[in-house]
Symmetry: C2
Subunit: 283 residues, 2 copies
């Protein structure tokens, strides 16, 4: 398939959409980023400025002039402007099946014929909205982690995806300084989150069964693997509210018991790093 | 409890016993190391020399004079000599319930009254041999990982262990430059291996269900967590024969399917790093 990606449309200017848009612009792509209000777009722009400052402090992307960078980014609340001439759409809207279906129905109808459709969903599956886009064969999951530190991008086709999309999406991921991995069959949570949840589930079970303390469980992982965080430190970074919802959705007894424990933290306002306290206290 | 540990007896001069003995000597303890034959003891001594060379290349333990170090180590095939005046026994014999029971029956009867009994078992439980030692209340698991790189030591009492043993064992672990963690209830695999097996189980399931390749599953973990190895790289280091036995012992369907896959590697002589090939090839 002769696919040349140069112009990118990002749907949803939240945490992940903002990061993907910034990296795409840093990598030289023309980027249009869409959200529902000017306020949301303004916030996204401010986040980009902060991110860029932090990255440049680390010595990254210092060679790119501000004027050039910002000229590659267009923020818009107008759907037609957003998808105009787009080679690829990457959708990062709210993690809700109904909302994503509506969005793909709308933007699928508006997009030029050449556009590739990709979703950045974290736990849903591309087959849930592929048909709604009107072009299931050109629809695929393209899932980023945090773009700048965790640089894996999952490429996950649904059964109706044209296999010819894989190679251009891999090249696009590499152009965005990511390491592409292929998820050959639809799998909620892709590869990394599937493994991370297994680790966290085992840690949660050790805790709820009172086998060991939060600190000792984390230490076992951190010291043996020379890692800066153990499973509970990771949960504090993810947010215990998110962790609660994900754990609650798993139906086995151990997950339900761990979800009940996580709920006591959430109910007490201990949401992890972002609230200043979770399993650990933060300053 | 007023326990002063100065003299240590190591039962079993295999991989782990050798390392614990060497670290104990490096930490200033008087160490007697026992095994069944002079040949096994000679091999242990050679392993220590190699280890020491590698550690000193890294700049570690360079301040300890060889003469002083070796004067702290006594290699013996005589049980009475091995336990003479020992403050603590750490047992690392073959991972077999019957053998460990025999060993504890024999050495429990020989040891001085003051001796603490500890087992370095990887997957068995201290309650399986505590009674055989004749002093279950002075019996506890004290489990090392690889001593020099993975520096966690698990302290795991069985229900009959005197709680007064915990603090002296923690101090002993720290004296051996380990990070002690308390496993409050008997749990096969302690903390680290329980979590590692969950991670490996999830990775194995992704592979047997053909969701992704070995390389892509590993990459997801390595790139996002900035780790030098993913689950299959770790398995190659552990040895696929060991991995097969541990996985085979787990009775769920996913483990059985992964065990069947591991068996094809073992049957083909691909045991991981030690044989030059496993999931990956090694030079």
């Amino acid at each position: 398939m002769n696919i040349d990606i140069q112009k990118v449309c990002i749907l949803g200017a939240g945490t992940l959409g903002t990061r993907v848009a910034l990296q795409a612009a840093l990598s030289g792509f023309q980027v249009r980023i869409y959200d529902l209000s000017e306020e949301l777009l303004e916030r996204s722009k401010q986040t980009m400025q902060k991110l860029l400052g932090a990255l440049r402090k680390e010595g990254r992307f210092t060679e790119i002039e501000d004027e050039v960078l910002w000229s590659r980014l267009l923020f818009t609340t107008d759907p037609a402007t957003a998808v105009k001439d787009a080679d690829l759409i990457n959708e990062s809207v709210t993690e809700d099946v109904g909302i994503k279906q509506e969005v793909w129905k709308r933007f699928g109808a508006l997009a030029p014929e050449k556009t590739l459709f990709t979703t950045n969903t974290s736990y849903l599956l591309p087959s849930m909205f592929a048909e709604h886009s009107g072009r299931p064969e050109r629809f695929c999951a393209l899932h980023f982690h945090d773009v700048f530190t965790a640089r894996v991008v999952d490429i996950m086709p649904h059964p109706g995806t044209d296999p010819g999309l894989i190679a251009p999406l891999e090249r696009f991921g590499e152009a965005l300084e990511q390491v592409p991995v292929l998820v050959k069959k639809e799998n909620s949570g892709y590869l990394f989150n599937t493994m991370l949840l297994a680790l966290i589930g085992a840690a949660g079970k050790l805790l709820t069964k009172e086998v060991a303390s939060v600190e000792d469980i984390d230490k076992s992982w951190m010291v043996n693997f020379h890692m800066p965080q153990g499973p509970f430190g990771i949960l504090d970074a993810i947010g215990l509210d998110t962790a609660y919802h994900v754990t609650k959705a798993r139906k086995d007894t151990a997950s339900q018991q761990f979800a009940a424990l996580l709920k006591t933290y959430v109910d007490a306002g201990k949401l992890g790093k972002k609230s200043g306290e979770g399993f650990y206290r933060y300053k």
